[in-house]
Symmetry: C2
Subunit: 319 residues, 2 copies
């Protein structure tokens, strides 16, 4: 018996695995290695990515296989530079564009017209229904245990509810998935695959700083916090319903839950944050990571992870 | 192909389903109906349950099949009445005793000596390892999406990590599971079954007030909050790491995130809470429910739910 899902058919994949388009982690090297191994690679654009940066990362793909690009929908709404970047990205003919964190409807026609698949990542059932009716080709139900920015509902109940609510668009799971077990669980529920972020941060190919990767290897499943404090200190205007899950560090211990005090001391905190950035001091800087972080104890090449996680899931599903 | 798991063998069950021992919801009627249908029924003791109450509920079982009793470990530590209640419960010869929220080691020998299986519900990998090494017969990995009191880690990454860490004790999943899909997902990951709470609250047999059940039917997956405010106002000394997941209502909107202000106005808030209790006013009173609440749209008999969820899971796992 072999396993084939709607996700695999859509992109011609060997494994039902999408690598998350993590800002500051997912560049061309990571996307290429995932795509070569048979998953869907993704390049992540943060709020500061430029066309030149994207083009540089894209040039690393060397015809690897299907690769997409991810965008934050709220940033497309608010920033002309982001809309320009999307137009530029579509010119590169990506296999897919992933939209998350906002109303995708204004951007879907141009993406489809460019021949890319539309992937909408959603954090609630209402947003899943909106994206499905707007013509998304694929939904990703992202649970609160995911690393980076996410919503409030956990993957398992969100996935169950989205699968029940949306019958005609394939749904992948994201959040808390770092091994073949969890991937098999999502597929047994009816998902067409899973999107993994944190697991792919701890690879040689990810753009995270080596010390950030080290912190990920040391962290346990209880060492993350879903918090707005890193957005506040950096002045990134994320909508309030999306906070970022990061490793607990000195900065979260000082400010998380004390956001009013942080706002009252913002200039001082911002200077300290910028100083930490210059020194790559992750006692202060954000290390975005999900609750699967406790299972990640070694750096491993992305291509090897795709094969290992995919094969483990297939073995479990055959039992 | 039929499905048999370690949980089913341990208690002679038809389905790999445990009904959670929810305080103020899980009495003898609910436990009996679950057990008759082939699941493991449980009676829940709150911090105010008495031997007379437990005996009354136990008398409703009428030889239904395997039924256990649940205890809060921190309450056993702190309250002589709770330890007395445990001794009394063991005299009733339950099939199992479930311990959660604390170090189970002091209580395991007496439970085993009484011939009951020891079920330890855990919220972290460290607690899973402790319970396994202390001789638990079964672990329940409870995610943060569960209703009532719980920890911070979501079911999916917690289950994956516990299954990896503990090889020699069967592990069931709890939190976010209300249908056969999620049960199938947990079993595909390697769990021996699942414990369901919120789904069994919305039954004719549960002890929740009809208006509380009505609120559960109307709530969506985003309508819960993990909060200490109901413990604060009732003066129930839960350890800080365990907060209660309840439906958002006027009380949570007023006090959640403003716990210091609640403490400063405690006497007044307590009087208002007691008044709401007399009037069964759930704009103020806690309705504990998990994030699976959005999937629950009708009251259904517990026995029917056991069969329907069990059969749906078996069908999915056969595919």
């Amino acid at each position: 018996m072999s396993i084939t899902t709607a996700l695999m058919r859509m992109f011609g994949l060997r494994y039902p695995i999408i690598q998350a388009p993590m800002a500051n982690a997912a560049g061309g090297d990571l996307a290429r290695e995932v795509a070569r191994a048979g998953g869907l690679g993704m390049i992540g654009t943060g709020s500061r990515a430029t066309p030149a940066w994207l083009e540089g990362e894209w040039s690393k793909l060397e015809g690897a296989g299907p690769v997409g690009v991810g965008f934050m929908t709220w940033a497309l709404d608010r920033m002309a530079e982001q809309r320009h970047l999307l137009t530029h990205a579509l010119g590169l003919k990506p296999a897919a564009v992933l939209l998350s964190f906002g109303d995708p409807r204004p951007y879907i026609p141009a993406i489809r017209a460019a021949g890319a698949k539309v992937i909408c990542q959603v954090q609630t059932v209402a947003d899943a229904e909106l994206a499905a009716s707007a013509g998304a080709d694929l939904l990703v139900a992202q649970g609160t245990e995911a690393g980076g920015h996410t919503g409030q509902v956990s993957t398992l109940p969100l996935l169950a509810a989205v699968l029940r609510a949306v019958a005609d668009v394939p749904v992948a799971a994201a959040g808390g998935i770092a091994d073949g077990r969890a991937l098999a669980g999502a597929i047994a529920m009816g998902a067409c695959g899973a999107m993994l972020g944190t697991r792919f941060v701890a690879t040689p190919e990810s753009l995270y700083h080596p010390q950030a990767k080290e912190r990920i290897l040391r962290a346990s499943e209880t060492d993350t916090e879903l918090t707005p404090v890193f957005d506040l200190v950096q002045g990134i205007p994320w909508p309030a319903q999306y906070r970022g899950r990061a490793l607990v560090n000195d900065f979260t211990q000082r400010w998380h839950g004390r956001e009013e005090a942080l706002k009252a001391n913002l200039e001082q905190a911002r200077q300290a944050y910028e100083a930490a950035r210059r020194e790559a001091d992750f006692r202060t800087l954000a290390v975005y990571a999900g609750q699967s972080v406790g299972q990640i104890t070694a750096i491993a090449p992305a291509a090897e992870l795709v094969r290992q996680i995919g094969e483990e899931a297939i073995t479990l599903l055959r039992r």
